[in-house]
């Protein structure tokens, strides 16, 4: 594990250094990225100039939901967003090259073309989250702090697993990055809002099938002290670590299976 991290650092470091050789473009890309993601939250701000609550949630509470989800996908995207390019890698043969190097392929997939500018989303979401947490009425207890902290880690792991699953799917199928994107970025957009506004089928799907509700919804209910509008078991609100561990295991197994069924290309 530490070896994998060391290798990630070595490869990502080379890309960061190469990226810094075009310093202005780095600054421009990072700041435009941050502005774009901020606009994303501005839509919610504008909405709240006409309403007081959405699905029973106030603006500051939604900021917590938004911040948790954005932070999680931001970290996952920073570390594993490149898995999205796997279809391309299969076709241009760079996956073959990765497979003959003495570093786990996933580490190389993650670190290759590592783009530090993706940190913009993490910073922006972190800021929104910080504001939401300080402005929303929260009765802080040690357990609430723990649930919040674990939500940041587990949410990132859940999104990271989704990226890996999407990548594994592309290794099987040769392509179809759009399908993978629908789950990751689509899932992020979906969870920016309180699940209370969606039909119960959606809530079931993101609880039992693709466990996105454990990224921010359940931990936020617990931290904010809000009752679950769908009356699902209260244990779900502290279950993110278990769910994340399971989902990581599923993703890891799927990835290994995908590599064992990899067919490369004919040329």
């Amino acid at each position: 594990m530490s070896e994998a991290l060391r290798m990630f650092g070595a490869i990502a470091g080379a890309w960061v250094r190469a990226g810094f050789t075009y310093r202005t473009s780095f600054v421009v890309l990072t700041s435009t990225g941050m502005i774009l993601t901020f606009l994303d939250f501005a839509i919610i701000l504008i909405m709240f100039s006409h309403l007081d609550a959405l699905g029973g949630f106030t603006l500051t509470q939604i900021a917590v939901l938004y911040g948790l989800s954005g932070f999680a996908i931001g970290v996952a995207d920073l570390l594993l967003g490149n898995a999205e390019m796997l279809g391309q890698r299969v076709r241009d043969g760079t996956l073959d090259q990765m497979l003959v190097r003495p570093v786990p392929a996933l580490v190389q997939v993650a670190a290759d073309r590592f783009a530090l500018r993706r940190v913009g989303r993490v910073l922006q979401s972190g800021a929104v989250l910080g504001w939401g947490l300080s402005a929303a009425p929260i009765d802080w207890t040690p357990l609430r702090v723990l649930v919040l902290a674990s939500a940041l880690v587990c949410g990132s792991l859940i999104f990271a697993s989704l990226f890996v699953l999407g990548g594994a799917f592309q290794v099987f199928a040769g392509d179809a990055s759009e399908v993978a994107n629908a789950f990751t970025y689509g899932g992020n957009t979906l969870t920016q809002y309180p699940l209370a506004i969606y039909p119960v089928e959606v809530v079931r799907a993101v609880t039992f099938i693709v466990p996105l509700a454990f990224v921010n919804w359940y931990p936020a209910l617990y931290v904010l002290g809000v009752d679950d509008p769908f009356d699902l078991p209260a244990a779900f609100q502290v279950a993110s670590p278990v769910v994340a561990a399971l989902f990581v295991a599923v993703a890891a197994l799927t990835w290994r299976t995908a590599l064992r069924h990899y067919r490369s290309t004919g040329s």
Partner: protein, 316 residues
């Protein structure tokens, strides 16, 4: 203990094809269809065959990229697909049509990154880098991003990259594709010396028989996923009924010449083509020609892959 040990190795690909709007058919391609061979440490083996014969598929199984459908496979006593990352330290791979370098990084950074990935000790790295960069003459290119290199420059850089960690085995899949004659020659000399001096085991696929003649002592021919031949060069020429061709221009038109040990295969005005089995000297034939007729010009054409291989493929 052999370096590469392969027994009844197979790999099939399932191909799904669309026929019309709704009809789909499934077809199996036997890319590698039961091959058996072994390679001892320090051997240099040429692996040849027509397009689609299964050469690249074999190399991808030997490196662990593809999992075999069935059969026994050991490289350096490891099962490649299961111990892929472990094996990776001990092998070097060059795919001619693709680069193992990073397109956007300067060549020097690519090499440096490989040093860290393979954890090459600094003295080894520096010794190898300066030796190979010098031998393959890419010293002036180290500051350039790989995407700016020409095909031949990139190929040489790729070969340096594959050797920085002192691999025991070097796989080369069409390393001379697209190279000019001088670059090919330089590369062949380099590979021959690498094999002789360092004892690096080499497995080389190519469509240029000269590559094999100059680098390898042993040839394996694959066709339709099966080994059609495995042996040295003389045996290949014998098995493939290879012939050298003597092209003679006489001063005057003469009837087809009858010289023992040769056969006239074509006549065009004053020019005649005589074939001589490869492995038998052409000297006596030429002497006989010169003693009986006046010769204006003469040349000898060596057998090529195109001449030799069809005979092997045609056999059951």
């Amino acid at each position: 203990m052999p370096m590469i040990d392969v027994h009844d190795l197979r790999r099939t690909f399932l191909i799904r094809e669309r026929r019309g709007v709704l009809r789909r058919t499934r077809r199996e391609v036997q890319a590698v269809d039961g091959i058996t061979f072994s390679v001892e440490p320090g051997e240099a083996v040429g692996y040849i065959g027509p397009n689609g014969a299964g050469k690249s598929t074999t190399i991808k199984m030997l490196t662990g990229i593809l999992v075999p459908t069935s059969g026994h496979l050991r490289v350096a006593d490891l099962d490649p697909s299961r111990r892929r990352t472990e094996l990776a330290r001990r092998i070097g791979v060059v795919f001619g049509q693709r680069t193992g370098l990073w397109w956007d990084l300067p060549l020097r950074d690519s090499f440096e990154l490989l040093r860290r990935i393979y954890r090459v000790p600094t003295p080894t790295y520096e010794r190898n880098l300066s030796a190979y960069v010098g031998l393959l003459e890419i010293g002036d290119l180290l500051g350039q991003p790989v995407r700016q290199l020409s095909l031949g420059q990139r190929m040489r850089a790729d070969i340096v990259a594959a050797l920085l960690h002192d691999p025991e085995i070097l796989y080369l899949d069409e390393p001379t594709i697209g190279l000019d004659i001088a670059s090919k020659q330089r590369l062949r000399t380099f590979l021959r010396e690498l094999n002789a001096d360092r004892g690096t085991t080499i497995l080389l696929t190519t469509h240029d028989l000269v590559d094999i003649e100059q680098v390898c002592r042993r040839v394996m021919v694959i066709d339709h996923g099966r080994l059609a031949f495995d042996g040295d060069f003389a045996a290949l020429h014998a098995a493939g009924q290879a012939t050298r061709t003597v092209v003679v221009d006489f001063h005057d038109e003469v009837p087809p010449i009858d010289v023992p040990g040769s056969r006239v295969v074509r006549v065009d005005g004053v020019r005649q083509w005589l074939t001589v089995p490869a492995g038998t000297p052409t000297g006596p034939v030429i002497a006989a020609l010169a003693s009986s007729h006046e010769i204006a010009d003469l040349s000898i054409r060596e057998p090529t892959i195109e001449d030799v291989l069809p005979h092997l493929y045609a056999r059951p």
